[in-house]
């Protein structure tokens, strides 16, 4: 390397190679830099030994610590469950009517219920519990089977129209048109009547004819005034909420064919605490009905009407 020389301008040694008159100066890195590099190599070797590192045909080398991301998740889940256990135990031993008055526990139950709702219920009732045609809206104040927290918990536990569960909510409206109980004309008349009691249409000759048909065929379950009965799951026909629609076409279809919506009996799938939390969540959605006599909520942070 005869080309090595001290560069005149900088006083630094050149590397000895030259191309087209361009030379490289040798400005060496500090030694600690090299040692840091060696330390990284040592760390990498250690890492490869203790952690999964080298890809093989089936998975990777396991590493002597046996760490897996799945195992870590499992550990974290166990830790979470352990932290949650006392809350779940408290919810388990608190009756539902007391749960709603225990501000902190109720809040925890609502959070837990919201999580369980996302897993089990949103498929039918929707992410906001707003339901859709055939699937009840759980936010409103109209309940087929009762809106107290105990009613809600019972419905969740035993489901709707589940033959496997003897306590399941059962109601069976006849298919008046399909089964030939009423003629299409009569169906039209009773639909007219239902639309007048729900304040959608003015009384007419058709609806007057329908009133008699209603009294004979429908009042048994829906009541003489058409306000329904939660005991038998007969919807209130006088309010503004329709599970399958309140238009003439929708009502005609319902009276002709009837609908038998179902809900699983979640008692067979979920543990009682989860069901309690689900009930607390649904109850908190704004339409929950107080069990009579209503206990006045109290405690720090509870809103009280000021006027």
């Amino acid at each position: 390397m005869a080309n090595k020389r001290i560069d005149e301008a900088t006083g630094t040694e050149t590397m000895g190679h030259e191309w087209d008159g361009i030379e490289e100066l040798n400005t060496p890195l500090p030694k600690w830099w090299l040692y840091t590099f060696y330390a990284c190599i040592a760390f990498a070797i250690g890492y490869v030994i203790v952690y999964p590192a080298i890809p093989m045909i089936h998975g990777a080398t396991p590493g002597i610590w046996g760490w897996t991301s799945r195992g870590q998740l499992d550990q974290e889940m166990k830790k979470e469950q352990a932290e949650r256990a006392p809350i779940l135990a408290a919810i388990a031993k608190t009756p539902l009517d007391q749960l709603v008055t225990d501000e902190k526990l109720n809040r925890q139950a609502i959070e837990g219920g919201a999580a369980a709702f996302k897993v089990n219920c949103v498929q039918c009732h929707g992410a906001g519990a707003q339901g859709s045609v055939g699937y009840p809206n759980l936010n409103d104040d109209d309940w087929l089977w009762g809106g107290t927290i105990d009613d809600i918990a019972f419905t969740i536990t035993h489901g709707v129209r589940q033959a496997a569960d003897p306590e399941s909510r059962m109601s069976q409206m006849p298919s008046f048109g399909k089964d030939g109980i009423l003629t299409p004309d009569q169906v039209g008349q009773v639909v007219s009547y239902v639309r007048t009691i729900s304040n959608q249409d003015k009384p007419s000759a058709s609806s007057q004819a329908g009133a008699a048909i209603f009294a004979a065929n429908c009042a048994v379950c829906h009541g003489a005034d058409g306000k329904g009965s939660q005991a038998v799951g007969a919807p209130n026909l006088t309010d503004g909420i329709w599970l399958y629609g309140g238009s003439v076409a929708a009502l005609t279809n319902t009276v002709t064919n009837a609908h038998y919506g179902q809900m699983p009996n979640w008692g067979a799938r979920l543990d009682p605490v989860t069901i309690k939390m689900l009930a607390a969540y649904v109850f908190s959605r704004g339409g929950g009905k107080a069990a009579a006599p209503a206990a006045a909520p109290s405690g720090t942070g509870t809103g009280t009407p000021a006027q």
Binding site: K4, P28, G303, Q307
Partner: protein, 485 residues
């Protein structure tokens, strides 16, 4: 500058790919700047170690530590100021002030941060004093470094390193007290009850202090730290630097040579004291350079020698390149105020003060209660059986005072509407609700607003928040009510 003539390099003296570190053994020196460094070092260390132990009474609902970064509860306490995460712009403002402040200091007094206040400088200085205390001054340290490893040297080294480690542990240990109640944490720390992250933090900071302060030292400044590089771009001929007045010093010659040849030599007697005392091991006579942290210890050393040989002080001195050139031409000195307050410094000072005043103004005018409203998107609205329409809102009442407060939420607009929370019955709905908001907390509410129907029209309305105690305070958030119409 004198550079060697180009000569072929001897194969045996080849420079390797990696540069050996030339260890620095700075000599002890006393003088004006050394004493200034002592004072600043004592101040900085006292602030660092003392601050977490200052108590500050904030009443029963807030911690009584004067400076506390409470990460767990998302609060930052600094004497009378309490900052919530929502007010993080105060911290951002302080950081911007710190950044501009560094520019300001650099513009006014050069690399004063590097020379006096930087933790790396302060702790390196501390460790170098430990070296002198255990091993003796520069020459003794040099001798010991060259001496072969024997029992005596090993014992001495272990003793010194254990003192390093003790200082490093105290340094790393003090850090965690800024993040939790110091007396409690100290007790927890020694009884093994503190959080794992506390021990890990102490461990990491102990190691970095031990390593960076005890062993890396000036290499951090020269190789690792970006700040000197940034400063090299910020320094100009108006910046205050530690400058060797070469026109006065050169050519160098010892006192003996100068006696033999009067008039042939400059003031520099080539005693090398400026190099011996330098904590980064540079020779300031080669001109200003990235390794010079402007600690000015060489000024102390040189002034002392100049006094002994009977020359005026200031052969090495704090001066700007502009003033150095003026002095070379024989012009009189400018007053120090002129050197410090040049236009660039004034601009930085203006920006820095403007940010500071802006922050102070905002601090004086911030409201200690807050209302935030998020409208439910799913479902947007709920039809009720009587034809009324209901909307859901997540409303947050924020009480930033250190005491519980009674607050009132009311509806402004939608005359036919009432509201209730998910902890109330729909039958209890009202236009105004009162809440006891706990001290220093955000109280989340699920509020259901129902507008009587049929024919609910919806539209824009506001939630009003009003504190009912004598201090008062209010907030309003405008939102919307959706219906199917």
């Amino acid at each position: 500058m004198n550079r060697p003539d180009p000569i072929p390099v001897d194969h045996n003296s080849e420079i390797g790919l990696y540069q050996e570190r030339k260890q620095v053994f700075p000599k002890q020196i006393d003088g004006t700047f050394r004493r200034l460094k002592w004072a600043i070092m004592a101040f900085c260390l006292a602030v660092y170690w003392g601050t977490p132990w200052i108590r500050w009474d904030r009443g029963p609902y807030a911690p009584d530590q004067a400076v506390l970064i409470d990460l767990a509860h998302r609060r930052f306490y600094m004497f009378t100021i309490e900052i919530w995460p929502q007010e993080f712009y105060f911290v951002a403002g302080l950081l911007i002030m710190a950044g501009v402040g560094l520019f300001l200091v650099t513009s006014a007094v050069g690399r004063a941060w590097c020379g006096y206040a930087c933790p790396q400088t302060v702790w390196t200085d501390l460790f170098q004093h430990v070296d002198r205390f255990i091993d003796g001054d520069r020459n003794a340290q040099l001798r010991l470094a060259k001496a072969p490893w024997g029992p005596a040297k090993i014992a001495r080294r272990l003793f010194k390193w254990s003192i390093y480690l003790a200082i490093a542990f105290l340094t790393g240990g003090a850090w965690i007290f800024y993040f939790a109640d110091a007396p409690t944490l100290q007790h927890q720390f020694w009884t093994g009850q503190a959080a794992g992250v506390a021990y890990a933090t102490v461990g990491v900071l102990t190691f970095t202090t031990f390593w960076l302060g005890g062993f890396m030292r000036e290499q951090v400044c020269i190789y690792m730290c970006p700040w000197p590089r940034i400063q090299t771009a910020m320094l100009d001929e108006k910046s205050l630097l530690v400058t060797y007045k070469h026109w006065r010093g050169e050519p160098r010659g010892s006192v003996k040579k100068a006696e033999k040849n009067p008039g042939a030599f400059g003031d520099c007697v080539d005693c090398n004291q400026c190099v011996a005392v330098c904590p980064t091991g540079i020779d300031i006579r080669e001109g200003t350079q990235v390794g010079c942290i402007t600690c000015a210890l060489c000024i102390d050393a040189c002034d002392r020698v100049m006094k002994q040989v009977g020359h005026p002080r200031g052969l090495i001195d704090y001066t700007t390149l502009e003033d150095a050139a003026a002095e070379q031409r024989g012009e009189p000195h400018r007053p120090i105020s002129k050197i410090l307050l040049h236009p660039r410094t004034l601009v930085y000072l203006g920006v820095w003060s403007a940010i500071g005043l802006g922050l102070l103004f905002m601090l004086g005018h911030r409201v200690r209660l807050d209302l935030s409203v998020a409208r439910d998107r799913n479902p947007e609205f709920v039809m009720l059986s009587d034809g009324s329409v209901r909307n859901g809102y997540t409303v947050k009442l924020r009480n930033m005072e250190g005491r519980p407060r009674k607050m009132e939420v009311s509806l402004d607009g939608l005359p036919a509407a009432t509201m209730y929370t998910d902890e109330m019955q729909a039958s209890e709905a009202a236009r105004t609700l009162t809440f006891d908001v706990p001290a220093d907390e955000t109280m989340p509410l699920r509020v259901y607003v129902t507008e009587k129907g049929p024919g609910a029209a919806g539209g824009d309305f506001s939630f009003n928040l009003r504190a009912l105690d004598k201090d008062g305070g209010s907030d309003t958030v405008k939102t919307a009510f959706t219906t199917s119409n």
